[in-house]
Symmetry: C2
Subunit: 224 residues, 2 copies
DNA sequence: GACTCAAAAACTGTCGACAGTATTATTTAT
DNA sequence: ATAAATAATACTGTCGACAGTTTTTGAGTC
């Protein structure tokens, strides 16, 4: 029944499976079986197959020569490459955003930063991180470059996979808040170069942290 | 008969349709019909549908709310964004490549540059451009960052679509050769910053040229 | 001739089926 | 028991079919 739900079944599958991949509910290396997924969604294999094609292309899955699909394992080398790439792109986005941003965006960032700060002081890392993600998303949306935006969104999702597996929702220091604040300052001041540098610096710090945790995880994989 | 050809039918479809999109054999705005494509490949619609999902994700196609698939139109704004993005990424790739490149890669670039030069002098823009593409591909491959590599490959394909539609296989000046040469010098000298700058400059020049042609094309679309 | 409404044709989303192949379980031989 | 051989399963790639929509065609009207 094609008209059962407004949203094509295939898209529902993509969104849901992707969410599970990001949050580590499908474990790295695990095999995904089409019939199994199909039965989970109460559908035939067709929508599932189409969803898997897309998720493979997004970098979450890999396909064996036999056609079987596996969750891509977490690898230090991939993480390093993702972080380098992402840092550079977020920097670019910040630079472009500094030029294009309107007052409303700036105000949104300010409100966001305030929320982030109170959350951090309160020790609520969970909320603080959510504010952080929103902060970045606002900048990316404001950069005015669609291909960059889409690429960065995909990268952020792939990086999230590492974060969630590491349960790296650990800390959210005052230092982090300060980093965000200096990014916002540069944006508000319409200083592309400064904004770019501040963003690159911020991403690098955060990357180093995650990579550190990842190394520990990969050498002694606690069964999280 | 799943074992008819070693290569899954779906992948053949992706490759072939993509090639047609890049070369403008499917025109911007044109609708792609699944049954039609299926009959062209002598298959059922299943492999075609899966191929279309991927090509949509690659940025070549767009889907109407009705599910119909169209070739994405050529738009000035998209081209501008693609070029900005690509320039930045090629610059990054060059920078990384300057650090990672081994002697064999350098020699390959040198041979490539020589071929490009003789082709340019001979006035064979077609071959010269192919050398140029190969030149860039070599650098991208050498940058050592897989996500960057994949992204850049996708971008180059999308940009090619503009080039081919514009039939911008026009000129290949000595100046172009010089730009490539300065990139190579920086790479051989292991100077990341210089290589990055040279690459950015080169891409910008070439982008400006294409954008110029595109503006003319969009205002007076000759039926190429 | 332009316009409206209805019948016809073309399509997409989804399904269930089948053939061939890879995996896994089981049996047999050492 | 261990390993090789074989039978049983599970799964992927592809196909053809059908229902519900959208688009196109055509008839009839002003």
């Amino acid at each position: 029944m094609p008209s059962a739900s407004a949203l094509p079944l295939q898209q529902r599958a993509v969104a849901e499976i992707r969410e599970d991949l990001i949050h580590g509910r499908f474990r790295p290396g695990e095999r995904l079986s089409e019939p199994e997924l199909a039965s989970r969604f109460q559908t035939s294999r067709s929508p599932v197959r189409e969803a898997l094609v897309q998720l493979e292309h997004e970098g979450f899955l890999e396909r064996a020569k036999t056609g079987r699909v596996y969750v891509r394992p977490l690898e230090l080398s991939e993480a390093e490459q993702l972080f380098v790439f992402r840092g550079h792109l977020e920097g670019l986005a910040a630079r472009l955003a500094a030029e294009n941003m309107n007052l409303k965006d700036i105000q949104r960032l300010e409100a966001n930063l305030a929320a982030m700060e109170t959350a951090a002081q309160r020790g609520d890392a969970r909320v603080a991180m959510e504010c952080g993600a929103e902060f970045h998303r606002t900048i990316i949306d404001a950069c005015g470059n669609r291909p960059l935006l889409e690429c960065l969104e995909g990268l952020r999702a792939r990086v999230s996979r590492y974060r969630y597996i590491l349960a790296a929702i650990d800390e959210f220091s005052e230092q982090r808040v300060r980093e965000h604040r200096s990014i916002l300052s540069a944006l508000a001041a319409r200083s592309p170069a400064t904004a770019e540098q501040a963003m690159i610096n911020h991403v690098e710090v955060s990357s180093r942290e995650t990579l550190h945790a990842l190394k520990a995880f990969l050498s002694a994989p606690e069964k999280v």
